[in-house]
């Protein structure tokens, strides 16, 4: 059983990865029409969802969603539910990977085939998606430990740069009192979605310690504001809409004068590639375990089982297929659709788990 700090890491990785999953893009599209109030609303909504889910599932210490469902529901209900959520989380990983392929081809290696890149990603992600939960969390901790200082450096560097226009930021802040939209709220709440991984990772927590959960809305709000406002500060209130991956364009506008690498972009790219891969590994692990859990109880976690290969193989194939069908525009649209669907799914999941909890309390 692991220390509860790993739960906060799960939150943090999802929050950091928002840049890849079209959150800034969605928010920036509506910067004059409700993005800013949506950020505050999504902080409240996201924290509520997170707190509700984490608190409820902490009563089922050491059990993942499949085990909890297996105890309370018949297979007819739990099977479609689990497959649905498994699919949702597989798609999250797919979007992260496909967008990163796009970023790679666009910003770093234009002469490399996107299929080669995606196969590289898929190999790593599928190979490590069936590590045990503990192992993945250890790796996550190591990577966050290595990269958080660099992320902070990038953040400070970007905020202190003379090219950063605070006027543009102020300009956008004046649009505070506009009507928020569902889409932007859905995008904003993605920051807090890391808790969803508890559906499987709760297996390693005996009793989740929610004592420091108040740090999450604060961190989440900061990340959201940075995500939204820094690109505006660099590209201006109007120019910012020209970029799909606004953060990568932003990183490309910053220079490190005294380092052997001059363009901050490459540092940023390297870190985010590493973080995206781990995030995809986590998402796919959850997807895989939910999928397997839909069909049967969890047997020992050791070894590479045949079923794993089939599931991961077919999802890898699906990823390549999806990639071949989507151009940049449609990919962005797909990403935004995912954000919208996800929020509904999260509410539904919270309702289901609360229902299970209430029933089990009544029974006891």
């Amino acid at each position: 059983m692991l220390n509860s700090k790993y739960f906060y890491y799960l939150f943090l990785i999802n929050a950091l990865i928002n840049i890849i999953n079209y959150v800034p893009r969605t928010l920036i599209n509506d910067r004059f029409a409700g993005a800013l109030p949506s950020i505050f609303i999504s902080m409240v909504v996201g924290t509520m969802l997170l707190y509700g889910f984490a608190k409820t599932i902490s009563h089922f210490g050491g059990k993942g969603l499949p085990e909890i469902f297996a105890e309370r529901f018949s297979k007819i209900i739990s099977l479609p539910l689990l497959i649905l959520y498994s699919g949702l989380w597989f798609v999250a990983g797919i979007i992260t990977m496909i967008s990163f392929v796009d970023i790679t081809v666009r910003f770093v290696s234009p002469d490399i085939s996107p299929y080669a890149v995606i196969i590289g990603f898929l190999l790593v992600v599928s190979f490590f998606a069936h590590l045990s939960e503990e192992s993945i969390l250890y790796a996550l901790e190591t990577l966050l430990f290595l990269f958080t200082p660099i992320i902070l450096y990038i953040l400070i560097k970007s905020l202190l740069s003379p090219d950063f226009s605070w006027d543009a930021v102020m300009q956008v802040i004046t649009y505070m009192w506009t009507k928020p939209k569902y889409g932007t709220v859905a995008a904003g709440t993605f920051i807090f979605s890391g808790y969803f991984n508890l559906a499987i990772f709760n297996r390693c927590f005996k009793r989740l310690n929610t004592r420091y959960i108040w740090t999450i809305p604060i961190t989440g709000l900061m990340i959201l504001l940075v995500t939204f406002l820094v690109p505006i500060g660099y590209h201006g209130t109007i120019g910012v809409e020209d970029h799909i991956f606004s953060w990568f364009s932003t990183a490309d506008s910053i220079r490190m004068e005294l380092f052997i690498i001059e363009r901050l972009l490459f540092l940023f790219y390297t870190i985010y590639l590493a973080l995206s891969l781990v995030s995809a590994v986590i998402h796919w692990h959850v997807g895989l375990e939910l999928f397997k859990g839909a069909f049967g109880p969890k047997e020992g976690n050791s070894g590479f089982k045949k079923a794993d290969w089939w599931i991961l193989g077919s999802f890898s194939l699906l990823t390549v297929l999806i990639m071949s069908q989507l151009d940049q525009e449609r990919l962005a649209l797909f990403g935004q659709w995912f954000l919208n669907v996800r929020l509904v799914g999260e509410f539904a999941l919270l309702a289901v788990i609360l229902f299970v909890r209430i029933r089990s309390v009544k029974k006891a």
Binding site: S4, V108, S109, F121, F128, A139, R211, I260, L273, A274
Partner: protein, 446 residues
């Protein structure tokens, strides 16, 4: 101080040490009324025989024998349990008479067979290395670890070689699960000949395809003692100057015994240096391929031009250059290892200096490549334990190959993959790599 009866003291000692395989007790004298107790591995049996056992039969009664023993130089009266235990574990022999106990100095000091640590040399601190004799080795450990909870279990492995294998552990601190697993695995080893710890280490791991060592093989008794106190299990093998320590974590391989001796700040600095060295030796070849062939725009323009200019005369792609030079470096390392001591330096000079110089002048490799290869080799040697050093030597090729395939992406993929792989490894059921630096308990944790 409460005067304990001599019989009770002797019984207590026997009770405490009875499950130590090298504890021996006898009754001496014609009437068998004098008790003799000592640790075989720590006590010089010749001294005991000549000055204790023989006179006990020659003198006329126990009284005379007691006077003889009391007059012995270096003999101490055993006043209480603590002194008795302390001295017996030092190598004294305890003699129990009707009314009191004596501790006779018969300490065995094995100095002739003990050499200096060659593979893990350090600047300050103890220089002893394990010898080839298991009794001596246990003696060396016991001398540094004078606690009654230190246990040694003896086993025999090998149908023909009948090699004695000792499992050492601190009974009060050891992780039981690891100990059980270790015993089970050693008993499961079915081979004819066992000669070295490295061999044993191989039989003790289950995974067939593995690159990373999950056990430390060391020649330093101080490292063994340090790890015993941490609750780890140590396996000693007769006729072999190396001990196996398990379970281990990744960072153990980057700890030199020097770090304990240095001033804390210096120790941390050295530790961080090692990780930087690790990072460099792993990624430099891959990065060179990336910067020369895939993404020259990543570096500052001047540096990219420098690399391109240096590579201007080189007639093949960067990865050929990298692999050629890395292989040459491996040959050089291997050659200087196997050559007799007298020729070794000549080979390295010829190989390293002259070959490197000539190769650049001939235009076969770039100047920067030579610098890089030396940097890679030197930062590889910074790793204190050679087993991990060998592993890292292999891993850097994997990263280089991925860099050929994917450029910068390949390097990031392989580094992330490496971290995930290491986190997935287990050493006797214990996690192999996690951030021990961040181990703290928050309020309200259970």
């Amino acid at each position: 101080m409460v005067r304990k009866g001599s019989g009770e003291l002797s019984l207590w000692l026997a009770d405490q040490l009875s499950d130590q395989i090298d504890f021996e007790q006898l009754k001496l004298g014609p009437s068998k009324e004098v008790g003799l107790q000592y640790m075989r591995s720590l006590t010089n049996s010749d001294t005991v025989k000549r000055y204790v056992v023989v006179p006990s039969y020659e003198l006329k009664d126990a009284k005379a024998f007691e006077e003889y023993i009391a007059a012995f130089p270096g003999t101490v009266r055993a006043e209480d349990r603590r002194t008795a235990m302390e001295y017996v574990l030092k190598g004294f022999a305890m003699l129990t008479f009707a009314s009191r106990c004596y501790l006779v100095d018969a300490v065995k000091v094995e100095s002739s067979g003990i050499g200096e640590a060659m593979n893990e040399s350090i600047v300050q601190g103890p220089r002893d290395a394990f010898s080839e004799n298991i009794e001596t080795n246990i003696n060396m450990v016991r001398r540094r670890y004078q606690s009654p909870t230190l246990k040694a279990d003896m086993l025999t492995v090998g149908n023909i070689s009948r090699t004695t294998v000792a499992i050492l552990y601190d009974d009060a601190r050891v992780n039981r699960q690891v100990l059980r697993e270790m015993k089970k695995r050693i008993e499961a080893v079915k081979i004819d000949i066992l000669q070295s710890s490295g061999e044993m280490e191989k039989y003790l791991t289950k995974e067939r395809f593995r690159v990373f060592p999950t056990m430390i093989v060391t020649e330093r008794p101080d490292r063994v003692v340090f790890n015993l106190a941490e609750g780890k299990v140590v396996v000693l093998i007769n006729s072999n100057g190396f001990a196996i320590i398990a379970p281990t974590v990744f960072s153990d391989f980057f700890t030199a015994m020097d770090d304990k001796i240095q001033v804390p700040m210096v120790g941390w600095f050295l530790k961080i240096t090692r990780y930087i060295g690790l990072f460099l030796t792993l990624t430099l070849p891959g990065l060179y391929i990336t910067f020369a062939s895939y993404n020259p725009e990543i570096l500052k323009a001047q540096i990219s031009l420098l690399i391109a200019g240096s590579r201007a005369g080189v007639p093949y792609p960067s990865f050929m250059e990298v692999f050629l030079m890395l292989l040459m470096m491996e040959f050089l390392t291997e050659a200087s290892l196997r050559l007799p001591k007298a020729i070794g330096p000549t080979a390295t000079t010829v190989g390293g200096l002259i070959l490197g110089q000539a190769a650049t002048q001939a235009g076969l490799v770039s100047n920067i490549m030579i610098i890089l290869v030396s940097a890679v080799a030197i930062s590889n040697f910074i790793i204190p334990l050679s087993m991990m050093g060998y592993t890292i030597r292999v891993i850097k090729y994997i990263i280089a190959v991925l860099a050929i395939a994917f450029g910068l992406v390949g390097i990031v993929i392989s580094v992330v993959g490496l971290i995930l792989y290491l986190s997935g490894l287990r050493s006797f059921g214990q996690p192999y790599m996690k951030m021990h630096v961040l181990e703290f308990r928050a309020k309200g944790d259970r």
